[in-house]
Assembly symmetry: C2
C-alpha cells in the first residue's frame, strides 16, 4: 500500500474508487469462467459479484490493513473473498423463496437475469470460493493466519452470523421485534461480516489484542450505523438512487430501526454511533483517518 | 482407531454402523441449536444432516484414515464436515427451483418439512459450518493441514466440483449428453466429494505422494461405480428401498449411465470399475481390506 492514494490524506472518494478497481480486478481473475458447460454458473457468479457497487467491505479491509502495513496483495485477496460472501448473501436473499426482489444494484437480480436454480448455485459457488481464496497461500504465507481468516469468515457468515440473522429477519415478518431484538438481528445479519472486514487487516498482520479490540469496537458501532442508514434509505430513498426496490421493509411489516425509533431519532442515533465508532480509533492517531472518513461516509451515503 | 471394530477383519456392516453412530454424535454436538430465534435454521440443519443415512462419505474418511493411524477425533471432525456438505447439497438440490423433490431418506425433504427459505438458509449454514469445522484446531494441530483440508473441500464442492456438476446436470435436461459428458458431470457432481473423503486421511497424516495417488485412483473409479449404482437404483429400485422418488431421471429426460448404456452394460461397468478401484489399493496390503469391502458394498447396495 505504498501508493499516494493510500496516504494519510487520501479522501474516502479516492480510496473508494481505487478499492473498487483493485477488488474488481481480483474478482475478475478469481472468477474466470472455465470452458465447460459449468461456465453458466460462473457467469452468474460474475454477474453478481462484479455488479456495480460501493465495495464498502473491501474498502474497510483496505483501510484496516493500511493501519498495519499489510501487503496489498494479501488485503485484496481477503477483500475479494468477503465481497464474494456479500454477493452470495444478496443472491440468496433476493430469491423468490426469500425476499423475492427483482432489482439489485440497478439491474435485474441474479435469478431474474438467469433463473432460480442457477442463482442458488451461483450463491453456493461464491460462498465456497471465498473459503478457497482464504486458504490459498497467495493470501498469506503463514497457514495459521489463513486458518484464522477461514474461521473468522465462517463465524461471521454462519448460523451465529449472517445466516442466523437472515433466519430471524424472515421470522420477523410474522412477529413484532423490539429494539433489542432488531439490534441483535442486524448485528448478526450485516454487522458480523462488517466486523470481519474491519478486523481482517489485524489478522493478516498478526496484530496484538489492543488494536484488535479497538477495531472490533469501531466495527460494532459502524455496523449498526450502517444498518440504520440502510433502513433510512429503504424508508426515504428512491429506487433510482439505491438501485433496489424501496419501502420493502414497511410493506412486509418488518420492524426496523426506523419503524421503531422514527426517522429523526434513527438518524440522530446513527450520527451518535459514528461518533462512538471513531472514538475507538484514537490509538491509531493519523493512520486511521481513512477509517474515520469511511464511518462518516456510511451515514451520509445516498445509495 | 484402536477399537477392535477397526481391525483388519472388521466387516463393512460393522464399520458402517460404528461410523454412523460416531459421526452422528459429532454432528449432534457441532449442530447444537442456540437459544435465539435463529434456532429454527439449526433445527433444519439438524433435520437434514442427522437424517437416517448410510454415511458413506464418513465411512470412506474413517476407512482411509485407518490406513495411516490418524487420530479418531481428527478423522471424525473431517467426516462430520463432509457429511454437512453432502447434506447441504441434498437440501439445495431438492428445492423447488432445482429438482423439486418431496422425499429424501424416507422423510419429507427439508423445504417440505420447514419452508423454502429456511431450506436455502439451512444449506448455506451447513456449507459454512463445514469450513469452520475444518479450520478448527480440534481437527488437527497443524494449521497447514487444516488449510489443506479447507482448500481441498472448497475445490471438491465449488464450481469445478459439486456446484459445477449440478449446473451441468440442470442443463442436461435440455440437451443430450454423451457418455463422456455424463462421466465428467458425475465426476464433478458426486465424484469430487467422494475423492476428498478418500484422501482426507492421507492429508491428516501428511502422507507422501505414492499412497495419495493410490487413494485418488481408488476414489476415481469408486465414484463412478457409485454413480452407476445410483442410476440403476433410480431406474430399477423402489421409493420404499431408496427413501426418495425413483424414475426421476428418466422422467426429466436426463442422460444417465443407464439411459446411455442400458442396465446390463451399466451394471457390468460398475463391477469392472470396482475391480479397478480395488487394484489401486495393493500397496496398503491387508490394511485396506475395509476400503475394498466398501467398494464392493457400493455396487451391491439397495438404498
Amino acid at each position: 500500500m505504498t501508493e499516494s492514494l493510500w496516504s494519510d490524506h487520501v479522501t474516502v472518494a479516492d480510496a473508494s474508487a481505487v478499492t473498487v478497481a483493485l477488488t474488481d480486478a481480483v474478482l475478475d481473475r478469481l472468477l474466470a469462467a472455465p470452458q465447460g458447460l459449468e461456465a453458466r454458473v460462473y457467469e452468474a457468479m460474475r454477474y453478481s459479484a462484479l455488479a456495480p457497487g460501493k465495495r464498502l467491505r473491501p474498502l474497510l479491509v483496505m483501510a484496516g490493513s493500511r493501519l498495519f502495513g499489510v501487503a496489498r496483495v494479501s488485503a485484496l485477496q481477503v477483500a475479494a473473498a468477503i465481497e464474494m460472501v456479500h454477493a452470495y448473501s444478496l443472491i440468496h436473499d433476493d430469491l423468490p423463496a426469500m425476499d423475492n426482489s427483482d432489482l439489485r444494484r440497478g439491474r435485474p437480480t441474479c435469478h431474474k437475469q438467469f433463473d432460480d436454480a442457477t442463482a442458488v448455485l451461483a450463491g453456493d459457488g461464491l460462498l465456497t470460493m471465498a473459503f478457497q481464496v482464504l486458504s490459498d497461500p497467495d493470501t498469506h504465507g503463514d497457514p495459521a493466519v489463513r486458518c484464522e481468516l477461514v474461521a473468522a469468515l465462517a463465524a461471521a457468515a454462519g448460523g451465529a452470523g449472517m445466516v442466523g440473522g437472515q433466519m430471524i429477519d424472515l421470522l420477523a415478518e410474522h412477529m413484532p421485534l423490539d429494539i433489542g431484538a432488531v439490534t441483535r438481528l442486524q448485528r448478526m445479519k450485516t454487522g458480523a461480516l462488517i466486523a470481519f472486514s474491519c478486523e481482517a487487516g489485524a489478522i493478516l498482520a498478526k496484530a496484538p489484542a489492543e488494536p484488535r479490540l479497538a477495531l472490533r469496537g469501531y466495527a460494532h458501532d459502524l455496523g449498526l450505523a450502517f444498518q440504520i442508514a440502510d433502513d433510512l434509505l429503504d424508508a426515504e430513498g428512491s429506487a433510482e438512487e439505491t438501485g433496489k426496490p424501496v419501502g420493502a421493509d414497511a410493506a412486509a411489516g418488518k420492524a426496523t430501526f426506523v419503524s421503531i425509533l422514527g426517522a429523526a431519532r434513527a438518524r440522530a442515533q446513527a450520527v451518535r454511533l459514528v461518533d462512538h465508532a471513531v472514538a475507538h480509533l484514537d490509538l491509531f492517531a493519523q493512520r486511521a483517518e481513512l477509517l474515520r472518513q469511511v464511518a462518516r461516509f456510511v451515514v451520509s451515503r445516498k445509495t
